[in-house]
Every structure is written in C-alpha cells, then in structure tokens.
C-alpha cells in the first residue's frame, strides 16, 4: 500500500503546477476580456468626475500593473484570502461557500442518481441485447444525450409543476415558509431538488447508460468470459464479477471527467430553476467582470476537477488489481 500513498502524494504535488497554470491563464484571460469592472459599475451612472474614477481604480487595485495584481492575488490566496468582490464589497469566500455548497448538493445527488439509473440499465441492455428493455433504454438515452437541459427543465416545470401540480417550480425552498420541524424543512428542500436533479441526472445518465452498454458488450465477447461460462460459473457471477468490473473502467473515466461537464450543465439548470448556486453566480460575475469572484470560482472548480480525477485514478486500482501505482 506504500505505492498507493506515494502515488497519491505525487499526484497532489503534480496538481500544484496545474492549478498554478490555470490561475495564470484565467487571470490573463479575464484581464484581456473587453470591458473592465470599472466600465461596468459606471455603466448605470451619469456624470462621473475623474477623481471618482481614480478612487475606484485605486480601491480595486486596478491602478497597478497586471503582473503586480497577479502577485497580490497569489499572496492573498496562499494566506487563505480569496479577496473582496468588486461588485458586492464583501469577502468572496462568504458568497462562494454558500453557492458552492448548493451546487455540490445538486451535482452529487444528480451524479449518484444517474449512476443508480445508468449502470443497471446499461448492464441489462448489454446482456439482453436487442430486447425491449435494450431498445427502450437506447431510445430514451438518445433523447437524454441530445435534448438541451434548459428545454427538458422547462418541459418538466410545465408538466410536473404547473399542470400536474406535484412539485414546486423554482428555488431551493418555499419562499416565506415557516417550518414546524426540521423534517418538514428537509422535505421542502427535497421537493425543490427533485426537478433540477432529474434534469441533470437524465442527461448524464443517458451518456453513462450507452457507455456501460457498449463497454459490457465488448467485454462479454472476450475469451475469459467464454472460459468462465465454460467452467460452469453461474451467469450472475460471470456478469457481475468477471464482466462488470472490467466494463466499468472506461465508465469511471467518464464519470470522473463529467464533474466539469456537470458544473457547466448546472449553470443552465440553476438558471432555469432559479437555484442559488455557483453556476448562476459565475455567469453574473463574468458579466460584471468581478475579477476576484471569477478567480475564486475558477480555482474551486479546477480543484474539484483535479480531485475527481485523482479519485478516478485511485478507483481504477480497486477495479483492476493489475494497475500498480508506482
């Protein structure tokens, strides 16, 4: 197990230059983007004396050369200070921590739900190839992959929330609700989560189902499966112990990578369902050119992607003991 520990430490060390590179890249790009924060915050105002402009510039630290601004940002972030939002003048950490938690809640639930739906469906589709289950799941997953999330979201709102009146339309909880018990509060939250989670899980599950299916089909044709069956092993053992473990390797890769995609998809889903999450916040911050907020979110997302990739690589080892971490 020493190999694993060394490997993990090495991977974490390697991710430091990656994050460093991402930070330089993002910092440069957002400063190159036309329309600075100054222009935006002044956009809605009338006459502006020059000393007012200079005062804002100075307050935001925009009067320094860009490399100096980067070094100041770097120094701050190394001491755990994510900076102050240009637009709101509150520490970015306050805003981001709230929104990140909301988004993670949505994403994790969606990811788990999509795995619960996709893996069994994929297996059945592969084992019972060309059966009704297979055809239906292929048909439905085709929809899942190709329908844009905002459309599925709006349709679900229209049918489930408005016409059938089963679930709430928007938000993370009922506005102005007074709860008599924590259970009631939890149930209220849960009911608000269902639609966005289903929308997110649907598109991601569609992809994973197709992947599990094709990967299973590939594995089921291998010689060792024939051997296993010839030895007289039960079909269940052949499928779950011999085939599934091997078939899941490419699936894990995609699931690990999909953290980034889910975050991107969450932006649309959060907008449609008015969910107070990171996705909406990053869009708003980008439009406002709120540099510290954009940097903070980029770093958080980068960190999440790096971490999920690390976890993916570690999971490989459990699925396939032949993989050695050296």
């Amino acid at each position: 197990m020493g190999g694993l520990r060394d490997y993990t430490i090495r991977r974490i060390l390697i991710s430091i230059p990656t994050l460093f590179g991402i930070s330089i890249l993002t910092f440069t790009i957002i400063h190159l983007a036309p329309g600075g924060p100054l222009r935006f915050s002044l956009a809605l105002r009338g006459n502006i004396p020059v000393e007012y402009l200079l005062e804002i510039e100075h307050r935001l630290g925009l009067d320094k050369p860009i490399w100096m601004q980067y070094l100041i940002w770097l120094k701050n972030i190394l001491t755990g200070n994510l900076g102050t939002s240009f637009i709101k003048e509150v520490p970015v950490i306050d805003l981001v921590s709230l929104y990140t938690w909301n988004t993670i809640k949505l994403m994790l639930t969606a990811q788990i739900l999509s795995l619960i739906m996709a893996i069994p469906l994929g297996i059945i589709s592969a084992v019972k190839q060309d059966s009704i289950v297979d055809n239906v799941s292929r048909f439905v997953s085709l929809f899942g992959v190709s329908l844009p999330t905002f459309w599925t979201g709006l349709m679900l709102i229209f049918i489930v929330a408005v016409k059938l009146d089963l679930l709430p339309v928007f938000g993370a909880h009922t506005i102005g609700a007074v709860y008599s018990s924590p259970i009631e509060a939890f149930l209220d939250q849960l009911s608000h989560m269902i639609l966005p989670v289903v929308v997110l899980a649907f598109s991601s599950a569609a992809l994973i189902t197709r992947l599990v299916r094709s990967s299973m089909l590939e594995v089921l044709r291998q010689d060792y499966i024939v051997t296993a069956r010839a030895k007289g092993l039960k079909e269940n053992i052949v499928i779950f112990k011999h085939a599934l473990r091997n078939a899941l390797l490419p699936v894990i890769t995609v699931v690990g990578m999909s953290v980034g995609f889910l975050l991107a998809g969450a932006t649309v889903t959060e907008t449609v369902f008015a969910w107070p999450g990171l996705g909406r916040f990053v869009v708003m911050s980008t439009f406002n050119r709120d540099y510290p907020a954009i940097m903070a979110i980029t770093m958080i997302v980068a960190l999440m992607v790096v971490l999920s990739n690390l976890i993916t690589d570690l999971v490989y080892g459990f699925l396939d003991p032949r993989i050695r971490y050296e």
Binding site: G35, N47, L95, F170, G171
Partner: protein, 578 residues
C-alpha cells in the same frame, strides 16, 4: 456500367460546384449598389432591438446605405461605447458607428436630464455624450434653463433646445416601450408608473383579505442593499423607498412630493431649500430620525471615498447644508436648479447612529449595505438571501400609517418562462417589467387568474450616431437614416402594439414636450432627397452594366476542366478497385 455512372455523376457535380463558386462574385457585383457601409451595435439578448435594427438595415438598403447589425454582450457594448467616446474609433476598430438601445435619461423627472446624452459637459469620461456631438447653442439653452425654477419660463428654452436636436439629429429616437407588469388577479393597488418605486409597494393589497403576502419576482439579483452603492435597478425596486426613504420622492405624474419632509420652502433666489421633517419618524431599530441623519448622509455622499453614485451631482449642486434644529434641514445650492429635487433630495437617508462614526471608505462594506438594511420606510427588512429573496415585513409604527400588506418578498428568478410558470401556479404574485412579457399578453388575457398593468417606459429607444464617422458627420445623412426608420411598423410588428412611436427627445406626458418639434419620420422618397442634399447622387447608384455573357465563359471552362479531371480520376480509381 455502374463505374461510368458514378464517374459521370462526380464530374457533373464538380462542374456545377466550380461554376457556381466562380460565377457568384459576378452576380453579386450586380447587386452591390451602395454609397457606404455602417454598423449598428446592439446588446445581445435584446431580440426586439435586433429586429428593429434589421428593419432599419432593410430600409437603408433602399437609399444606398449598407448596414450591418452587430450583437455583442452588454459589457462589450459598454466598452465599445466608451472607446468610441474616448478616441472616436469606429466599428472597424474598437468603437461604434451607431448603437441602438433603449436609454432612460430620467428626463421625465426634469427635462434638464435630457442633456445627459447631448450636453458637452457630459463628454467622455464624465458622462454619456460619447457621440462627439457638441453644440454651443444647445449647451447655452440647457444651462440657462437649468437655473430657472418656473415651469412656464423654462418651457421656451427646452423647446428651442429640442428644436436644435431635431434639426441636428445626433440621435434618431424610435419608440417608447410599454412593458407589462403581470400579476395575479387578486393583487390590488398596483400603480403602473410607480411600480414598486416610490410609495408603490405601500399601496399594494390583496383583494378580500386583511394583510397577506405578496411575492414579487425580478430577473436580476441584488448586488447590495443601498441604492447609492448598487447602480442597479434591482436594488432600487426591492428596497428603495420600501425600506429606505429620502427627503423627497415623486408621484405617478412625476411631480415632486415630500417623503421624510412634511413640507419644504425655497428661497426667492432659488438657492436655499428648507425642509421640515416629520416628527415621529423612527428607524426600524427604534431610534428616532433627526436632521442629523440627513447631514451625516450628505457628508458621506459629498466625500469621494464613499463611492456613492450620486456623488457627482452633489459636488456640482450642493454649496452647504446644516441642521437648523432636530427637525429642520437647510441646504444651499451652488446655483438655482429646478432639477435639484430629482438629483439631490431623492438620495436615501442612512442612519447616523449606525454608521456615523465610521470612516466613509467603510460605508460600502458595512452590514447596512451587505446584510441588513435599516431604514425608515413602510416595510422593515427581515432577511436577504443572495440570489434567492429579500424578505420585508410591514412597519407597524410607520408615521403615515401601516401599509395594507403584512409581508413582501422580492424573489430572484432569472428565467422568464420559469417566472411565468411560477406566477400561473401562484408561487409568486407579481412579475417585473424586466421580463418583457409583451408577447405573452394574449395568453395572460385568456387566463382569469392573471392580469397586467402596462408601464410606459419614459426612456426612448435611440439610434445613436457616432459623429467621428465622417459619413455620419452630416446632418442630411442622419436625417435620411431617420427617414428610413419604419417607426409605426416597428411598434405594430416588433412590439405587438405595446409601445408608442417616438419622434421627440422627451416624453409626451411631461411638461417640456411640444408637439411641433419633430424629427424626420418614415418616408423613403424624402430620405433620398436628404441623401441628395448630403451630396450623394443616385445616378452613381444605377446598376452597373449587365455582365456580358462572355464573362461567364471562364467559370464555365473552369468547371468543365475540373469536372473532366475528377471524372477521369474517379474512373481510373474505380477500375483499380475492380
């Protein structure tokens, strides 16, 4: 046989493709008949603006001006506008030739504000005049009218000033928009002009119900809680005049009325304003409001370090002020100004007992702005959940009497379709005009649970010209373009009749409007005359001589040769395969 067929088919396709490619420029050259090209800049996401720009584009083609419509995101729009104002760069660099956008200049409050796009003192970087149009006569008239206080004396000045604009045409106004406030049928007392500004929310009630809760949805989230720091309408709509209050406010005719001021007097020279404050006003934390609060707030706004958006107007207009006693406030202006109330006295008052001891540079990051607003208005703020909602509860001790509602929520729903679904279901009660639900009006009328109130937006949609463009720096060309704007058709088709044609620089409902000052309206023949007056001769625009048939020989030969080569290659390749 099959081989031959495939090869011939390939040869034919190649011949046709090559011929088309080579002949297209010849055909196009016959259609290109224009004097010059120009770009119209629009903000991404404003579909109605894009449609208007495309109609102008279509009409301008008829008089020989080729227009390209550029859709860019808001921040780039602002950037291009400022670069244009700064350096005079045009669309082919980082500026603009023309922009088309709805622009609210608050001229409905006082016509002096109408100068913000045109007065030379508002040139970049100080203000909105980015188009490099300067006119000494206009400036003089505006400056002279600004220091007068009597409406009747001011009228002729503005008439003359707007005549200059209508003749010089630094911008062509297009239309006014009417956006619906869509709401549940049981919401009563909703004023179309005030909306939730001013004492708007104070009069809302629910039919057949004592108290109750109204949930108001708007697409944008609040950046912060003090309007002077926000620079965004979302904050103003949620807490401006519901929680915060100012000395003065306006009614639904845009006339000044007192808010915290029970009465006020203006000295004969128009310089000194004396306000009598209501005696029994309490901050939401129980402290009494006095003239000291007003002094403290004005001190803050006067200091550039506070970064209040009203700073510039204060520095320009305020000479001195003092608290005469606890309930009397006196302010002296640098010059007489009838517009002072709309610039100075609608500044919301902040509580001295909370932020009075802090340095001004810390006001913006204080909890009052970032967590909980404590004002004097008809509603108290309970909680702000960023990106979700602002919760207000009725102020039972309000000095004008308690408002009918118990609770108001300002909810943030970014997507218009989601917001409409939430309204239909009753999860929210009112939708903001920013959702631009004009197209949904028939759908709303068909639903007995819903109704709407139309808000006439007093800011007109402008087509603004950049005069550093030498082509547009000719008033006859600008008049020609203005004559190419099919305003009535725009109102009928693009706005589905939810708007009014606009041919002036100030809203017809205001006192400074005079019906005989008009800009050139839609008339293509007239537009051509204007172009001729600008020196463009339509004989130049006669279609070029028809391309002789001989010109098509080269493309034909090219096509044939290419076809033969491809056919031969295909033939030999297929043979080898066989």
């Amino acid at each position: 046989m099959k081989r031959k067929a495939i090869s011939i088919a390939l040869a034919l396709i190649t011949t046709l493709t090559v011929f088309t490619f080579m002949a297209t420029p010849l055909v196009n050259a016959q259609e290109e008949k224009y004097f010059f090209e120009a770009h119209i800049l629009c903000i991404q996401g404003f579909e109605t603006h894009r449609m208007m720009a495309e109609m102008v584009q279509h009409e301008c083609e008829k008089i020989g001006i080729k227009i390209t419509v550029d859709m860019v995101d808001f921040s780039i729009f602002m950037d291009r506008m400022h670069v244009g104002g700064d350096t005079g760069e045009l669309s082919d660099e980082n500026g603009y030739d023309m922009w088309l956008c709805q622009f609210g200049d608050s001229s409905e409050l006082d016509p002096d504000n109408a100068g913000c796009l045109f007065h030379s003192k508002n040139a970049y970087p100080a203000g909105w005049n980015c188009e490099h149009w300067f006119n000494g006569q206009f400036d003089k008239l505006m400056d002279e009218a600004a220091v007068l206080t009597d409406i009747e004396t001011r009228k002729p000045y503005y008439k003359q000033a707007f005549e200059i604009l209508a003749d010089e045409l630094p911008s062509a106004t297009i239309c006014y928009l009417k956006d619906p406030w869509v709401m549940r049928s049981n919401v009563m007392g909703f004023d179309a002009v005030l909306g939730c500004y001013g004492l708007g929310a104070y009069t809302w009630s629910l039919e057949g119900q004592e108290g109750g809760t109204v949930k108001y949805a708007q697409p944008g989230s609040l950046p912060c809680l003090v309007p002077a720091f926000a620079g965004a309408g979302t904050t103003n709509r949620a807490v401006g005049h519901t929680v915060w209050e100012a000395l003065m406010d306006y009614d639904n005719q845009y006339n000044p009325v007192g808010e915290l001021a029970e009465s006020w007097t203006v000295s004969d020279d128009g310089l000194t304003w004396t306000f009598k404050l209501y005696h029994d006003v309490k901050w939401h934390d129980g402290e009494p409001l006095t003239a000291q609060d007003v002094v403290c707030t004005y001190d803050g706004v006067m200091d550039v370090e506070t970064l209040a958006s009203t700073h510039a107007d204060f520095v320009d207009l305020v000479e001195s002020y003092r608290a005469v006693d606890d309930y009397t406030f006196e302010l002296t202006l640098t010059k007489p100004s009838a517009a002072a109330w709309a610039k100075i006295f609608i500044q919301e008052i902040l509580p001295k007992h909370i932020i009075g001891d802090l340095p001004h540079s810390e006001w913006k990051s204080h909890a009052l702005n970032t967590k909980l607003a404590i004002g004097t208005g008809p509603f108290k703020m309970v909680e702000w959940k960023p990106q979700e909602s602002v919760e207000l509860v009725v102020n039972e001790d309000y000095y004008r009497g308690q408002a009918p509602l118990d609770r108001v929520f300002f909810v943030n729903i970014p997507d218009a379709a989601t917001a409409l679904s939430a309204l239909e279901k009753g999860e929210v009660d009112v939708l903001d005009t920013y959702y631009s639900l004009g197209k949904e009006v028939p759908h709303i009328e068909a639903n007995p649970d819903l109704k709407y109130v139309l808000r006439i937006n007093p800011g007109a949609v402008h087509l603004m010209f950049q005069l550093s463009n030498p082509r547009l720096n000719n008033k006859w060309v600008r008049k020609a373009i203005s004559s190419c704007i099919p305003r009535q058709q725009i109102v009928d088709d693009v706005l589905a009749s939810l708007g009014d044609v606009c041919t002036s620089y100030i809203h017809p409902l205001t006192w400074a409007y005079s019906s005989d000052v008009n800009i050139p309206t839609y008339n293509i023949e007239q537009a051509k005359t204007y172009m001729e007056m600008a020196g463009y001769d339509y004989e130049w625009l006669e279609p070029p001589p028809t391309t002789p048939m001989s010109a098509y020989i080269m493309p034909a030969v090219g096509g044939l040769v290419a076809g033969l080569i491809v056919g031969a290659l295909a033939m030999s390749f297929l043979k080898k395969q066989a």
